[in-house]
Amino acid sequence: MRITGAQALIKSLEMQGVEVVFGLPGGAILPVYDPIIDSPIRHILVRHEQGAGHAAEGYAQVTGRPGVAMVTSGPGATNIVTPLANAYMDSIPLVVVSGQVATGAIGTDAFQECPITGVTMDITKHNWLVTDAEEIPQTIAAAFHVATTGRPGPVLVDVPKDVSNAEMEWYWPGSIEDLDLPGYKPQVEGDPDLVRQAAELVLGACRPVIYAGGGILKARGADALRELAERTGIPVVTTLMARGVLPDSHPLCLGMPGMHGNYTAVTAMQESDLLLAIGSRFDDRVTGKVSAFAPGAKVVHVDIDPAELGKVRVPEVAIAGDARVVMEKLLEVLERAGIGPAGSKPPAGSQAASRPDLSPWIAQLRGYQERFPLAYDRDPGSGALKPQFVVESLRDAAPPGTIVVAGVGQHQMWASQWWHFEEPYTWVNSGGAGTMGYAVPAAIGAKVGRPERTVWAIDGDGCFQMTAQELVTASAERIPVKIAILNNAYLGMVRQWQEMFYEERYSEVYLSPDLPDYVKWAEAMGCVGLKVESPEEVGPAIDKANSIDDRPVVVDFRTDAFEKVYPMVPAGHSNDDIVVGPSAGEGGR
C-alpha cells in the first residue's frame, strides 16, 4: 500500500493505540494534519504549544500511557521545550512529533527553521530527525518503545515537510528487534544476589524507613510497596512525586519528606538505620545538606536507571531494576526467611523470628506525629482566609477519586501537605523541573485521560497567569476542569524566601489581587468564574463548583498573603535544622 509519510505517521500513532493528540498546526507540520481529519484519534487544539506538552504530561501521569503532542517547526517546537525538560526531570513518557522545514532547506535559516533535535538533545531520552518517509513507522514505534520502557521519559520525532509529503510503502515493525535499537537494553530484573543482601539488611534493621519515590508509580508498583510495608512493618515516606502510592490514611504512611515535608517523615529518615530507597533519587529537596542526610542509615537503593545508583549517596546495596519487580523478588526472599503475610508470626527458628522488634521505633515515630503535626493558625483574629483552610475544604468536599493537579510554589506544597491522597495516580504536579504554569494544561490532560474523575487544579495566581489561556481550549473542547487559585497577590514562595532570607526586601514579587480580574477573565474564556474573600464563602463556592460539570470553573480564593509554608528546612541546611513553624508543636522549634 503506497501512502504518504504523513499518512504513515498518523497510521503509526493509531497502531500504537493513541487515542488523543494535543497539538497546534503550522506550516511544516501541515501535511501531517491533513490525515488527522480522517483518523479516529482525537486531536485537541491547544492555544500555545507549551499547553500541548503539559496536557500530554498530565494525561500520561494519570493513565500511565504515553502522552502525545504535535507541533510545527521553529517556534512551535521551541515552545514545547519546557514540557520536554519537565517530562525528562519527572520521567514522564511523552512523545512529541514536530514538523521541520524540508530536508533541502535544513541549515539555510529557512522560515520557521530551528534545529530542534540539537536543542532538545540533553532534555529528551532520545530524539530522531527522520530523513526518509520509509523510516516513519519504524521511528514512531521506536519512539514509543523508548518513551515507555526502562526509565520512562520524553522523546521527540522531527519530521521534515518533504518527508511527510513523500510516498512510501506501508509496513509496521513486527517486533522490538525490528526497531534497530542495538544500544537500548533497560535493566528490569534486579540481581538476585543483591536482593538477598537487601533482605539481610531488612532483617537486621531496628529503625528502617522505606523512601518511596515516583519510580514506584511508574513501575505500577503500589501494591507491591503496600505488601512490603505491611509484611515487614516498615514505615513509608512518600516523596512529592509519590504522593498516593501508599494511602495517607495507612498507619505505616508517614507522608511527605523533604524541604517542606512533615516533621515525622523528615526525622524518621534522619534517625533511621536503614533506608530502602525505591524509585527515588535523593533529590536535594529531599536530602537537604547531603553530608548530613540520614547519617546513621545504611542504604538500599533500587532504581531502573543505573546512573541514579550512587549519584548522590553511595548505597550499601545498589540494585538496578524495575521497582515493582525488585520489590516482588524481595518479598519472595523475605518469605523464605520467615516474613509471611501481614499479621502472621514468623515460624520459630526462622531468621525473621530473631529480627529486631520495630515497635520502639514505631512508638518513637507516633510520638513525633503527636508532638509535631502539620499545623496552621485556624483562627486568625484578622479573619484572613488561610490557604491551608481552602485546601482542606476542597479536600473534604471532593468526590472520592478526585485528581489533584498543582503548579509550582506555595500552593503546590500546601496541596501536597493537606490533601489526603488515598490512591495512586491522583496527584499530578511538576516536581523536578518546578515548572510554573503546569497546573491548568496538566489538569486538562488529566481530565481527558480520566473523564469520569473530578479534576481540581490547585494553582497559584502567578502560575495561573502563565498558562491560563488553555482554559479556552478546555471550554471549546468541553473539558470541565476545576481551578482553585490560591490568590495571595504574590509570587508567594519567592516572597517567603525574601522574607526569611533577604531581610524582608521584597524584590519584584507583588502581583496584585485584582489585576487581572480573575472572574472576568474566566468568563471571557467560557468558564464559570467565582470569587471567595472570606472563610464563610469557601464552602458554598466549592459546592457550586463541584455541581458544575458542563464547563470549566475558576474560583479566585483571596488568601492570606503573609502565610508561609512550614515545616521548612532552609536550603543547604541539614534536615536536623527543620523549622516546624510558629503555629505548630512546642512553640516552633
Binding site: 538533545m121 540533553d122 531520552k125 532520545h126 544500544g183
Partner: protein, 167 residues
C-alpha cells in the same frame, strides 16, 4: 608523560554509525564542564557501528557517572574503560619541521631511531609521520620541537584491550 597523566582515562565507546551520535557523546562531557583530551572516531569492521576512543582528564568519581550516562544514550552499544597497562594504544603524528640541507641528516637520524617515516621533503622543510604508543609520540614531538616545528597534527589515540589473559 605530561602532568596529570594519572587522571587520564581511556574510554572506548561502541556506537551506532549514525548522524549526530558524536554530538550526543561529546555533549555529555561538555555539559559537565569536562574537557576531552583526545578523541578519535571511525567505523569498525561492522559498518553499522563506529568506535569512539576518548581520553578524558577527570577524577574517577565523576567519570563513573559519565560512563553511566553514556551507557544510557540510545545510540551507545557498549563502553569499556581501558587501564593504560591493559591497553594497546596508538597515535599518529604528522609534522612539518624546518630542515634546510644542513639539518636534514639530523632529522633523518631521528626518524630512523623512532621508526618514523619521511613522507615529504622541500627545500627548507620536511614532513615526517610517526605512528606509535602515545608516550613515544610525545618524545618524538619533544625532540622535533628543538628543530623547529612549522605545523604539527596528532590524531588522538585509539586503543583496544590487550589480548593477554583474554580467550
Amino acid at each position: 608523560m605530561r602532568d596529570g597523566a594519572e587522571r587520564h582515562h581511556i574510554l572506548t565507546v561502541l556506537v551506532e554509525n549514525k548522524a549526530g551520535v558524536l554530538a550526543r557523546v561529546a555533549g555529555l562531557f561538555s555539559r559537565r564542564g569536562f574537557n576531552i583530551a583526545s578523541l578519535a572516531v571511525a567505523p569498525t569492521d561492522d559498518e553499522r557501528f563506529s568506535r569512539i576512543t576518548i581520553v578524558v582528564d577527570v577524577a574517577s568519581a565523576p567519570l563513573e557517572q559519565i560512563v553511566k550516562q553514556l551507557d544510557k544514550l540510545v545510540n551507545v552499544v557498549s563502553i569499556s574503560e581501558l587501564a593504560p597497562e591493559e591497553a594497546t594504544e596508538r597515535e599518529l603524528l604528522i609534522a612539518t619541521v624546518e630542515a634546510g640541507p644542513a639539518e636534514r641528516g639530523q632529522i633523518v637520524q631521528l626518524v630512523g631511531i623512532f621508526g618514523a617515516q619521511v613522507v615529504d621533503v622541500g627545500a627548507e622543510a620536511m614532513t615526517v609521520v610517526l605512528a606509535g604508543a602515545p608516550s613515544k609520540v610525545d618524545d618524538f614531538e619533544d625532540l622535533l620541537r628543538s628543530s623547529g616545528i612549522v605545523e604539527l597534527q596528532r590524531t588522538g589515540r585509539v586503543a583496544l584491550p590487550r589480548l593477554r589473559g583474554r580467550r
